[in-house]
Point group: C2
Amino acid sequence: MNNPDISAELLSGIANQLRIHSIAATTAAGSGHPTSCCSAADLVAALFFGQMRYDPKNPHYANNDRFILSKGHAAPLLYAAWAENGVVPISELTKLRELGNDLEGHPTPRLPFVDVASGSLGQGLSVGVGMALNARLDKFDYNTYVLLGDGECAEGSVWEAASLAGTYKLNNLVAVIDVNRLGQSQETAFGHHTEVYEKRFQAFGWRTEVIDGHDMEEILEVLAFVGADDKPLAIIAKTTKGHGISFADNKDAWHGKALSKEEAAAAIAELQPKAKSGLGVEIPKPTQVTEPNTQPPASWPAINYKLGDKIATRESYGAGLVRLGEADARIVAMDGDTKNSTYSEKFYKKFPTRFTECFIAEQNLVGVAIGFAAMKKIPFASTFAAFFTRAHDQIRMGAISLANIKLVGSHVGVSIGEDGGSQMALEDLGMMRALPGSIVFYPSDAVCAEKCLEQMAEHKGISYLRTSRPKTPVIYGNDEKFPIGGAKVLKQNAGDKITVVSAGVTLFEALKAADILAKDGITITVIDAYSVKPLAKEVIKAAAQKTNNLVLTVEDHYPEGGLGDTVAGELSADGIKVHKLAVFELPRSGKPDELLAKYGLDATAIVKKVKALV
Amino acid sequence: MNNPDISAELLSGIANQLRIHSIAATTAAGSGHPTSCCSAADLVAALFFGQMRYDPKNPHYANNDRFILSKGHAAPLLYAAWAENGVVPISELTKLRELGNDLEGHPTPRLPFVDVASGSLGQGLSVGVGMALNARLDKFDYNTYVLLGDGECAEGSVWEAASLAGTYKLNNLVAVIDVNRLGQSQETAFGHHTEVYEKRFQAFGWRTEVIDGHDMEEILEVLAFVGADDKPLAIIAKTTKGHGISFADNKDAWHGKALSKEEAAAAIAELQPKAKSGLGVEIPKPTQVTEPNTQPPASWPAINYKLGDKIATRESYGAGLVRLGEADARIVAMDGDTKNSTYSEKFYKKFPTRFTECFIAEQNLVGVAIGFAAMKKIPFASTFAAFFTRAHDQIRMGAISLANIKLVGSHVGVSIGEDGGSQMALEDLGMMRALPGSIVFYPSDAVCAEKCLEQMAEHKGISYLRTSRPKTPVIYGNDEKFPIGGAKVLKQNAGDKITVVSAGVTLFEALKAADILAKDGITITVIDAYSVKPLAKEVIKAAAQKTNNLVLTVEDHYPEGGLGDTVAGELSADGIKVHKLAVFELPRSGKPDELLAKYGLDATAIVKKVKALV
């Protein structure tokens, strides 16, 4: 234990005070999970008042020990701890879940002491892995503690994180498993059989300690040996749900239920005599460190492409990441065993210590990125775009966490060719657009891809770069600017019949189509909508209004949620008529060009469609 | 071994023949994964010609042993096995990956002998769990074999499946792990340390056997004891990638590369002397069974709701599933420890043997459903809609598998209230729409929910029901019909100023708004778009054209990919002007009504918006 001045008795008393707050808050709110708080109260009291080294007044301090409440439904317990350590006014606690109050039903970083949102179970350990890796990178001695429920250990993402932590021997990472036996709708698969969790964590490369999670002496004893060997530590704590509330303790059907006022009064009366305040307890200080630079570079190194050179945007992603990484040490990267295809390998080769190989485990890949982002790094996570669907929930929670993560998905659309449908991302634009505040880029050439990368590094928030497998010619000069929310009008003539909006590989088909149509006397406007979100609404609208309000979108994506839906969704209110070319059926294997033709995305298909429309 | 007439020597010869086919096919295609085929060839030969009991001429026979190629990139090996057993003409094999040929880059059920598509790694074992559970339910003695790569064992979904199989003691399930050491971009985390996999599977409740995956005697020896105890069996086979090709065997940088013609010739020359044909080998027969009924019932039991009664659609889901389950024994259900919230608990209580509790592991939940669907059951999988994002990749692969699965997501939108953003599904409509061939329902009342359920049970393919947490009044009569692709015009008057399209809880806000507006002399058309996909395009268009082409959509969903984008995407080409009310920012905790007001989805917001537009 890092706090030699505090007794186990006082910590147990604080735990009961946390229980009282949790009960009072949920009863005031009329909903919540008091019994899930009670099982973990002793563990949390020990961590927050006995073990963790942190500055309560500066929760973002770079060398504070980190705490992640992976079992986010125990939020009132977390808020109670931050009240008893003097940060949250105790009177605020009973405003839990009220509209406008940041003490929400599940924790979010609207609270300064919450690094990441939780509430979708099984995600906290991945974030912890990212934070623990960050400590290694920065050579800081903070430890990362993750509190998990037993029920959430059924989530595969927990084992993805556990495996990587074991592989990289993260002995600065501690998982505390609150084995309270009861899930939401029934007993968990393993009840109080703590040996199941013990065997599993051991098999995944962890040291384990099984304890009575309500015995403060035992808790402190195992915490004294955090980091004692070269493995991450799993503390498997046998607890009872509703501990301290005699009528609910270890009983079925109490999940997610606030106590009635009478029940709460009875429970609090039981707990009060054994409760003690944490206010005034001296929290152990973190080791003082020089905080890492968080200033962006004054400028990025220049790029040097030649017009007409053929380079896949995925390749320019790799080159660009190295370029940015040279200028900004905050940039780190990670991949899921696809680095030779996404080209993140270039960054790995240049900056091996700033790269994390996450193996084939995309949920953890994104969780690790969120962990780095919470420590003020700028993480770029890459894999095949199709496989980001595997981490959709982590990405969703990343958005709720306001996480500054950068996702880069390669191998999109039917233009990947022979590998077939399972490898083709055809829904990624839709998935990434539907994240509050997200930025979605879909570059067509190397220059645009590199410039989008710069925007991503500078922009604070979740952003996505969609890269393509086929080589495409460089069409922009090295000094061209690509702001967030921009678009490029590549062809425009008086008398154009229609505005074709595209991005990525199909943009070149649109340009070819324009040339073909011109020979038949039909001229068209062609726009590169590289910024899918936010969309350059005004640019497209202005162009469309000059072409009789007629727009055709062309995209290597399903028709739902992609570029076509974006343009229609943003512009139909202005009377713009949007027609779509997209992948309207389940695609199959074939050569890239054959597939673009078969699914109606090549120049021929665009010519045909334009002729039918004008 | 089930085939007493075949020798290990012949099986080894067949394995080499499979290697030759795999090399020839990928070289002909110019792409693919020949070395990943070679590592697993002995295992596949032993399974297909020595172990599995199946009728090659009737691959869908209900009691055939099942085989799932979870490492889908070894597709050429699978095709070779189905050629050597006489089903695929050998001359077809070198048409691998050609457009129009069903021998795609990764397996899909376009081939009659493929139950589920693979190619996104780590998903096969969940499907196998579903199939093994189905055998239990039907009291059939088929076994299910799943071939996994070692690299994919990093996917958490593998451990979700492993845990459930261990918990339910599925001794009719066999995982064969092809530990060939090499991933795509580097060595896996554990190389040839087979003891890591051994410990992990044991910790997850499995019996394990570690073997040399190229020693046919050893392979046959462990296969002889499938089902010998009460645990699932993991055969951990140490292999080398590229086995049999001297210049590639166990070497780096050969992943996903076809051999050149010269290399292929050299490799085949090495293998040819040791190769033998499988044609003519007698495949062990499955035990004959009475095939389960696959006929739908003539009709569904009637429903009996009273107009005005207040019932949440999630609750009518539970009631409806029991009603349908009584009429059709093919209906099974599964949940992820939320059955008391989704109301699937009603089905569990009525039909416990037809219900699978999957605990908090949504990827496996969907995989299990896909497994049941492959065996011609009609599985309904439910959880909070937000947590289906966890299984997005499984759902995506389900669509590619043409899987007949039914997904039911509860707790959608800000109207869930106090639990906050992490629990609110606000992207599910977008996610589910972007699945080729999917059906997406969003009912507003109990009658509609129950009738949509009937449609889902009758329709073959992936479909989604979005249920809501708040109670809503019954507005439809018990005999009302709700076809796929329909919509209900609830209010329409001559002189309406705008068409409001909504569904779910906000439909009632639209109806209230209509009443308020009517008092100010503004009448509006109100449409219930319960079928979000396919959308009742013509119904909405006809209504809109009577209201000056003006449409307002209202939905408890993010603005991207949901009802508004759907209506705009489908109708903007017709000149319909679509305005949207949706959740335009990251929501927070609060009471349901407060949140509907705060995010501009209640009657007041609709009134205000309509007045601004007309």
